[in-house]
């Protein structure tokens, strides 16, 4: 039979056959490998009725300029029917630098909101009842500090910490592998991540203290299987570290959350989410002896793939995002961010964010896909992909285990190299048109009209620096310094650092001051610069 391509492959170069039949699923046992939704191994979903009970949380990531600018966007999004908040911080904040640091020049408020001290956090969440919304904060290396600030805002609002609901990303491992907003070397970074997990377990029990993230791994150029494997292996590393501290998996693991990318290969993505649930459930049960089903469930956030969007003919990005979002929903995501069409060019405008949110609402209320649970179960093709992705992940687990775990694998540069190789291979496939990107390497147009994009005013930097200087002038310098000295002393012990960080935050020590205090003991990480 003549076919239009010599070989058919997924986006991640997985070969795909002409037809899948019962013989593709040899050894497959639906009772064992799928089970019922809401039951082990959770392949079909984490709840028995999924979106018939409650739709996924529509959670658009937002942040730019000063805290006041972003607070206004938050109020706008809530008014548009968004059901959770998600905070994007600027690069100086992600790197633990104050806005007045020379290294922050040109970056303040550009890619997210600038937060220097508790004062900014109070403004960021002004008029938003923290006991009623759920908030996600994408922050990693200085996660402990931003988390402490959030707790202090809640205290000032009179909201009990037991009522707080949300997520802090706090995933240092994927930072070394892919996102690269690192500060401290791997071992102290891991300690801080686990301090937060440990503290939240008792003090902020509804909170998700880590979002184990594949999103950035995929954006850095990994395949679907690498995203799945490295993310879940990172998860194993956190569990091992927490168990070493004497924490009980049945107690802390229910609050671990995950974050995946929704890329363009529709079926491969759906299979990826299904495989994630099954692998994690089996891992928690068999490797860690979990008995609480809650501790075996992968609950995850999904974001459509920023790296799939094109600067050329950007309106087409709405279509890409729709298909990706649909895969996330059919894969059973708990919350979703849909990218805006202009995000390869700048931060999104209010209009493009609204279209992105409407995309989710159309999927939820018009397409009918939320009416039943896991509609692809039993598809020879989807089940085969799910099995294959599981098998490939387990193979990666074996390799990384043999290296002594993920921290050690990171030190040798193993996951980083796997990702660079995959991204380079993909680039070649695009350049030779083995993979077609519509509007970019085929179906192009000449002389496109540029889009109107959002610009962050350069005055933001000056305004932010001024605000922080004023906040610093008002604080009790002696109490602030004492809090930092206590923190410094605590870094030299095995004590959980969160109470010390909270004390410093409460005295309006800045993010940069707190981060620098911990650098004295922990040191800093330098990019090995492999390519």
């Amino acid at each position: 039979m003549k076919e239009r391509l010599p070989e058919f492959t997924t986006l991640s170069s997985r070969p795909i056959e002409r037809l899948y039949t019962p013989s593709s699923l040899e050894g497959f046992d639906p009772g064992r490998d799928l089970g019922e939704p809401g039951e082990f191994p959770f392949t079909r979903g984490v709840y028995p009725n999924m979106y018939r009970g409650r739709l996924w949380t529509m959670r658009q990531f937002a942040g730019f300029g000063t805290a006041a600018d972003t607070n206004e966007r938050f109020h706008y999004l809530l008014k548009q029917g968004q059901t959770g908040l998600s905070t994007a911080f600027d690069f100086p904040t992600l790197m633990g630098l104050d806005s007045e640091s020379p290294r922050a020049r040109g970056e303040v408020g550009v890619c997210g909101v600038a937060i220097d001290s508790l004062r900014d956090m109070e403004v960021l969440f002004g008029g938003i009842p923290l006991g009623q919304v759920s908030t996600s904060m994408t922050i990693n290396s200085p996660a402990t500090v931003l988390f402490a600030m959030y707790l202090e805002v809640a205290v000032k609002q009179g909201v009990g910490l037991e009522k707080l609901n949300g997520t802090v990303q706090n995933d240092c491992l994927k930072d070394f592998i892919a996102q690269k907003t690192w500060i401290y070397p791997p071992d102290p970074a891991m300690r801080l991540s686990c301090d937060l997990i440990e503290y939240a377990e008792t003090e902020v029990p509804k909170w998700h203290p880590v979002s184990i993230s594949g999103y950035h791994i995929r954006e850095a150029g990994s395949t679907a299987a690498q995203e799945l494997a490295f993310t879940l292996r990172d998860g194993i590393e956190y569990v091992e570290q927490c168990v070493k501290r004497g924490m009980k998996v049945d107690s802390f693991a229910p609050k671990l959350s995950f974050f995946f990318n929704a890329h363009s290969d529709f079926f491969e993505e759906i299979a990826k989410y299904r495989a994630a649930r099954r692998i994690w459930a089996r891992t928690m049960k068999e490797r860690f002896g979990a008995t609480n089903p809650e501790a075996m469930r992968v609950k995850f956030h999904t974001q459509t793939a920023g790296c799939s969007l094109t600067a050329q003919q950007p309106m087409n990005n709405v279509v890409r995002t729709t298909l990706q979002a649909l895969s996330g929903v059919l894969g059973g995501t708990q919350s979703l961010h849909t990218n805006s069409l202009d995000e390869t060019l700048a931060l999104p405008t209010e209009e493009s964010v609204r279209i992105a949110l409407r995309t989710q609402q159309i999927i939820a209320h018009e397409s009918g896909v939320a009416n039943t649970v896991d509609p692809f179960a039993g598809s020879y093709f989807v089940e085969k992909l799910t099995n294959d992705l599981e098998e490939e992940s387990l193979e990666y687990f074996r390799k990384i285990d043999a290296m002594g775990g993920m921290l050690r694998a990171i030190e040798t540069g193993y996951p980083q190299r796997e990702i660079i190789d995959a991204s380079f291979k993909y680039q070649r496939q695009v350049e030779t048109k083995e993979k077609i990107i519509v509007g970019m390497n085929d179906f192009t147009v000449e002389n496109e009209k540029p889009l109107e994009t959002l610009r962050v005013s350069p005055e933001v930097e000056a305004r932010q620096v001024k605000t922080t200087r004023e906040a610093k002038a008002k604080r009790n310098e002696k109490a602030m310094k004492a809090a930092l000295a206590d923190l410094n002393a605590a870094t030299k012990t095995a004590k959980n650092l969160i109470p010390f960080i909270r004390n410093a935050v409460r005295e309006y020590a800045t993010l940069g001051e707190i981060v620098d205090t911990m650098k004295e003991e922990f040191g800093v990480y330098k990019d090995p610069g492999h390519y």
Binding site: F91, L97, A104, V110
Partner: protein, 134 residues
């Protein structure tokens, strides 16, 4: 025979998006250039020091954080101050079209936008960069 061109692939600014920089570094290396990659989170003076130490002919800046309007001209200014004003500076990343004229005025010779074919970058360098006389 002319010596191989030496190119510094540099990542100014605080963003961790090094996928593009690494792809460019590999593509340039595969095209036969001598490539030095700085790694992430470089300040302008770190980049200029590396350019000086490595005697490069071209500095290729990659940035996706939006801070290019400050950082690119700053690198060029410091290169000039160190007597390296003849080094060719090019850039790439998420750079709005309306920023390009100003960046070129500041001395950036070419800007490569998302979707660029690495072979076009190689071709541009071959046609526009010559070894500096050191």
């Amino acid at each position: 025979m002319e010596r191989k061109l030496r190119i510094l692939v540099a990542k100014p600014g605080l963003d961790g998006h090094d996928r593009g920089a690494k792809i460019i570094a590999r593509a340039l290396r595969d095209a036969g250039f001598e490539v030095i990659y700085t790694g992430l989170h470089q300040t302008p003076d770190m980049i200029v020091d590396a350019a000086l130490q490595e005697d490069v002919d071209c500095v290729s800046l990659s940035i996706l954080s939006g801070a290019h309007n400050y950082l690119f001209p700053e690198v060029i200014k410091q290169l000039k101050e160190k007597g390296m004003g003849d080094v060719t500076v090019i850039g790439g990343g998420i750079i709005p079209a309306e920023d390009i004229p100003e960046l070129k005025k500041a001395g950036v010779k070419e800007i490569f936008l998302p979707g660029t074919d690495t072979r076009d970058v190689v071709k541009w360098i071959n046609e526009n960069v010559t070894p500096r006389k050191i």
